[in-house]
């Protein structure tokens, strides 16, 4: 029997079994006071406020932990209950600062609410009250304060840190009157393992944990986070044309209300005084403020003389779909070239190249919320909890539900805490590791023969190539013990549904496309693709990198991945845009800089990028930029690259414009204008349209971002049915060909989107990374990301709190290697490669294995990409930023 008949306070109710008395009462509008309950958390029953009486049961029952049963007659009030609640409440008040008017939570306080209902006996309370020494507030965290004096020991913060975040920075410490919520060693929060996500702050029922520098907003508007590709839904609080708060949208399927430190606190760059507010033109080597007319006229005049192959555009993965559409239309229709690219070239180009060949589509095959129901999650080459923290939470949730986690990463990343198996392969040996796993699958007959037969092709060719990968060779090359390879292969192949996650660790190699193909081989071999909670999931790094690719900011495809070289596609766009189009593929990101250096490309139009820090072999980029005749930078801040510009055009940030971002699970979501733009900053699409109009371009007369989306609908089949009115609340996942289509939750169900509908296996061989360590440069440098920063940190380092949590680059190096060079922890060293030298402090840690060191590229003081090598994957043209050879030298201080 699913339902139960119960009675609460004389009201008959028919309710679902399995829920607790408190849940049922709350759902039916019956108030039972409670302090330690939170709907996101497992009930702990420690506050003793939700006591009720049930006929036939002895004494008082805790409503939050007791499931309803048929025939229960429940009373939420009686004289005895009232007395117990009062006394318990008085004991809490006895230890609680009575300073409500001075409290952040005044009027929103759960203790006030319960006290108003339960009441206290002042006389008795006064006799209980004790003079407790005031504990100093913990102000160490830049984003929030912990005031022990207001803590009511409900444990919600402790349970949140455990159940929601999996970080476990907090627990109860000490005993009796001395009990406090404590970190390990009772040190300040900033010195603990706390990740500053603020989930505890949001849930604290009283004013014990409260945000700093946050004002009460006068209104809230929902928009999308601008950091990674997950696309968390956030209600931004606005007051006096400033962003003052951020709160996760609890109804969002993407983040379920949760946010990471960047999402919750990282919006503050929007209000930063260094925002660009006026167009700037370089006159006599100095930037001078000019009005828009002058700047646009100059840009148009210069661009007019460098049309066709003298021109290149670098678009942006940070700006909305509409802006990307307009920018690629401008490049193709007005400038007559397909040479437009963006930083997806440096992150997921091999994913698109590889997965299009094997599956027919280069996007995540599943939705984010499907991870929680996977039985095995295999994360390879992804520092998920740092780069995609909310997907990290989905993985941790899956783990709590019993899923097995396999992590393949050269370093012992944070996610390894949750891993059942950690495969610590040497950087650049992923093909060998994956092929080794496939060898095990085939040798032990664990493959999904039916899936292979029905849905895939080229299997026999692929099988032959497996011979090269016997496990002893695999162990030798990857350094992963073969037992672990076997164990991982068995788990992935048998404990289904299995979901595979990957990111830059797979793609940023000179054989990046092979890595991706190896992944698609493994998924097809085990039948782990095209199903719910089972697939191949590249995690996109930037908020709209998926959208920038979708909308054709790529040199070989028009919007919707329609090939530039296909005559019928060209004809279609020529007809729609009423202009003759170039039939040849354009140049890629890396090729653009080569051609600039060779003098072929004279003018560069760059929107929202910072290649001086983000491009491999950055010194090469700087040299190239110096050679340009005319360089236009369109951005929100004066970046390291902007220095090289002739004209700088100030653009609006995500908070000042309407549009859409497409997240990593192909969900197109609405970005909304929250505040007015600073100074004269303008929307990117407006700026590009103005340039286009001055160059005689037709079809650039849009009034709103929605006008542009309407045009996108008509020329982009996968976006055909994505209308603003449909995505007002919840975004739609492409493919969504028409207005009645519900969107696509997971790809390749029943049939792959490849031509012919079948998935394709690819035979592979091992190709070593281009630059391996040798005597002179004995260490492998690999690159990573920090939780607290994003990309080249143009935004995140302008958020004071993020900067204070991670303010400098650190070279992660294994104690063994450090010992060889007699290095001390925290001392400055020089790191040299064949291309450049940087100076950086050491962090001696076993996170890195012997022979491998790691840097991020967030800090302009330590431009890591001056070290990396621009060895290029022949298919996707991505540079090999994950492996190069370096040496570390001690600085002689004498």
């Amino acid at each position: 029997m699913e339902n139960a008949n119960i009675m609460i306070d004389g009201i008959n109710l028919i309710v679902k079994r399995g829920k607790t008395i408190l849940d049922i009462a709350t759902e039916n509008g019956i108030y039972i006071p409670n302090l330690c309950h939170h709907p996101d958390l497992v009930p702990s029953g420690n506050c003793r406020m939700c006591m009720v009486e049930v006929e036939g049961m002895r004494g008082q029952i805790i409503a939050c932990k007791t499931p309803v049963e048929d025939g229960m007659i429940i009373r939420t009030e009686s004289q005895e209950i009232s007395l117990i609640r009062q006394t318990t409440l008085e004991l809490i008040h006895a230890n609680h600062t009575q300073d409500c008017t001075n409290c952040y939570k005044n009027n929103q306080c759960k203790l006030q609410e319960v006290t108003a209902y339960v009441g206290v006996d002042e006389k008795r309370l006064n006799s209980l009250r004790r003079t407790k020494p005031i504990i100093e507030e913990d102000e160490s965290n830049p984003f929030f304060t912990l005031d022990h004096n207001k803590c009511i020991m409900c444990g919600i913060c402790i349970r949140t840190c455990d159940e929601v975040q999996g970080t476990n920075a907090l627990d109860y410490g000490y005993r009796g009157f001395e009990t406090v919520v404590s970190t390990f060693g009772n040190r300040p929060i900033k010195e603990s393992v706390c990740e500053s996500c603020g989930e505890c702050v949001v849930r604290c029922p009283v004013g014990a944990l409260y945000p700093k520098e946050e004002k009460l907003p006068t209104r809230e508007i929902k928009s999308i986070c601008v950091y990674c590709g997950i696309g968390c839904n956030i209600y931004f609080g606005i007051r006096d044309n400033k962003l003052v708060s951020a709160k996760g949208d609890g109804d969002s399927i993407v983040n379920k209300g949760r946010l990471c430190v960047k999402g919750r606190f990282g919006y503050k760059f929007v209000n930063h005084p260094e925002r660009l507010t006026k167009p700037l033109i370089k006159k006599n080597a100095e930037f001078v403020e000019v009005d828009w007319e002058e700047a646009l006229d100059l840009v148009a005049k210069k661009f007019a003389s460098s049309k066709g192959e003298k021109f290149a555009t670098l678009s942006s993965a940070k700006i909305p779909n509409e802006d990307n559409y307009v920018i690629q239309k401008f490049t193709r229709a007005v400038m007559g070239t397909n040479t437009i690219d963006h930083c997806a070239r440096l992150c997921h180009a091999p994913t698109v190249a590889g997965l299009v060949q094997s599956f027919g589509s280069g996007a995540m095959t599943n939705s984010i919320d499907e991870f929680t129901n996977a039985s095995t999650i295999f994360s390879i080459g992804s520092n998920t909890t740092a780069a995609h923290p909310i997907i990290g939470l989905h993985i941790k949730e899956a783990k709590r539900r019993g899923a097995k986690i396999i992590v393949a990463n050269p370093k012992e990343i944070d996610l390894c805490r949750f891993a059942d198996i950690h495969l610590q392969q040497l950087p650049g040996t992923d093909v060998v590791l994956l092929m080794g796993m496939m060898k095990v699958v085939v040798d032990e007959n664990l493959e999904d023969s039916e899936f292979i037969k029905e849905r895939c092709e080229n299997y026999d060719e692929f099988i032959k190539s497996l011979n090269e990968f016997d496990l002893d060779t695999c162990e030798k090359i990857t350094r992963v013990p073969k037992e672990k390879i076997i164990e991982a292969a068995r788990l992935y192949a048998t404990n289904k549904p299995s979901s595979l996650i990957f990111a830059m660790g797979i793609t940023q190699h000179s054989h990046g496309t092979d890595n991706v193909l190896a992944i698609s081989n493994l998924a097809q071999l085990t039948g782990s693709v095209g199903k719910e909670s089972s697939g191949v999931n590249p995690l996109r790094g930037q908020n709209n990198v998926q959208g920038a690719c979708d909308l054709g900011a790529l040199p070989n495809v028009y919007p919707g991945y329609q090939k530039v070289t296909a005559p019928e596609v060209q004809e279609k766009f020529e007809k729609y845009w009423e202009v003759k189009l170039n039939p040849d593929n354009g140049l890629t990101h890396t090729e653009i800089f080569d051609q600039i250096e060779k003098g072929q490309i004279k003018s560069l139009y760059q929107v929202g990028e910072n290649p001086v820090l983000s491009e491999a072999d950055a010194n090469h980029v700087k040299k190239a930029l110096d050679k340009l005749d005319f360089f236009v930078v369109q951005d929100i801040f004066f970046t390291e690259t902007a220095k090289y510009a002739d004209v700088i055009l100030p653009a609006t940030s995500f908070a000042e414009k309407d549009g859409t971002f497409t997240n990593t699970e192909r969900r197109v979501q609405r970005v909304r204008k929250l505040v007015e733009s600073p100074g004269e900053a303008k929307d990117d699409w407006w700026i590009t349209c103005e340039i286009a109009k001055r160059l005689g371009g037709s079809g650039f007369k849009y009034n709103t971002a929605e006008d542009i989306m309407n045009e996108i609908n008509e020329v982009t089949p996968i976006y055909g049915g994505i209308k603003y009115n449909r995505i007002d609340e919840v975004g739609l996942q492409w493919p969504c060909p028409d207005e009645n289509h519900p969107g696509t939750k997971f790809l390749h169900k029943d049939r792959f989107s490849r031509q012919g509908g079948k998935g394709k296996f690819f035979p592979l061989t091992y190709k070593a990374s281009v630059e391996l360590p040798d005597k002179e440069y004995p260490l492998i440098l690999t690159t990573d990301r920090s939780l607290y920063h994003f990309h080249t940190s143009t935004m995140s380092r302008r958020v004071k709190g993020l900067e204070s949590l991670n303010k400098e680059e650190l070279l992660l190096i294994n104690p063994w290697d450090a010992n060889q060079m007699n290095l001390k922890n925290g001392e400055f060293v020089t790191v040299k490669s064949r291309r450049g030298t940087v100076r950086v402090k050491t962090n001696i840690t076993e996170i890195c294995p012997k022979g491998v060191v790691s840097l991020t590229f967030h800090f302009h003081e330590t431009p890591t990409n001056e070290l990396t090598i621009c060895a290029i994957d022949p298919v996707s043209k991505i540079p090999e930023t994950k492996v190069c050879a370096i040496k570390v030298e001690k600085i002689d201080h004498k």
Partner: protein
């Protein structure tokens, strides 16, 4: 003994946490649980650092500060109190020149208070490590402490 040797004597199960902490504390030359001890125990038991810290701070028999070779635990329960344990504590404090909770400069003794030791017939009483000593109102502390080097 190496910490790993100690851990090997126990199954990595939560119910062994207190025994493990005791064993690590006894093994520590300074008679306390260092942060390293706690971290190693937490890793072994697959629990979190904050949790094991909570457990270690809850129980008074664990110390998170370095202590002397010998722990003096003077009983401070009602019976000993009525038999003038306060005076005894004062005398020991004076004799060793330390306050309750402190350690002598030569790292020999740490003075602590304790709940009832079950030797009320010989009140006031104390323990020095495993030895119980009663009738403290009559003893000569010098001769007692000289036995512990």
């Amino acid at each position: 003994m190496e910490r790993s040797e100690i851990l090997k004597q126990f199954e990595p199960a939560n119910e062994n946490m207190l025994n493990i902490l005791h064993a690590l504390q006894n093994n520590n030359s300074q008679n306390y649980l260092s942060e390293e001890d706690l971290k190693i125990a937490a890793n072994y038991l697959n629990t979190t650092y904050s949790h094991i810290y909570g457990v270690a701070t809850y129980y008074t028999m664990f110390s998170l500060k370095p202590r002397g070779k010998y722990i003096i635990r003077v009983c401070n329960s009602p019976v000993c109190y009525m038999e003038n344990s306060t005076k005894v504590i004062e005398k020991i404090k004076e004799f060793l020149s330390i306050e309750v909770g402190e350690t002598t400069d030569d790292k020999r003794f740490t003075l602590e208070l304790s709940e009832c030791l079950g030797r009320c017939g010989k009140a006031p009483g104390m323990m020095i490590n495993e030895d119980v000593i009663g009738n403290l109102d009559t003893v000569d502390f010098k001769s007692i402490f000289d036995n512990y080097n």
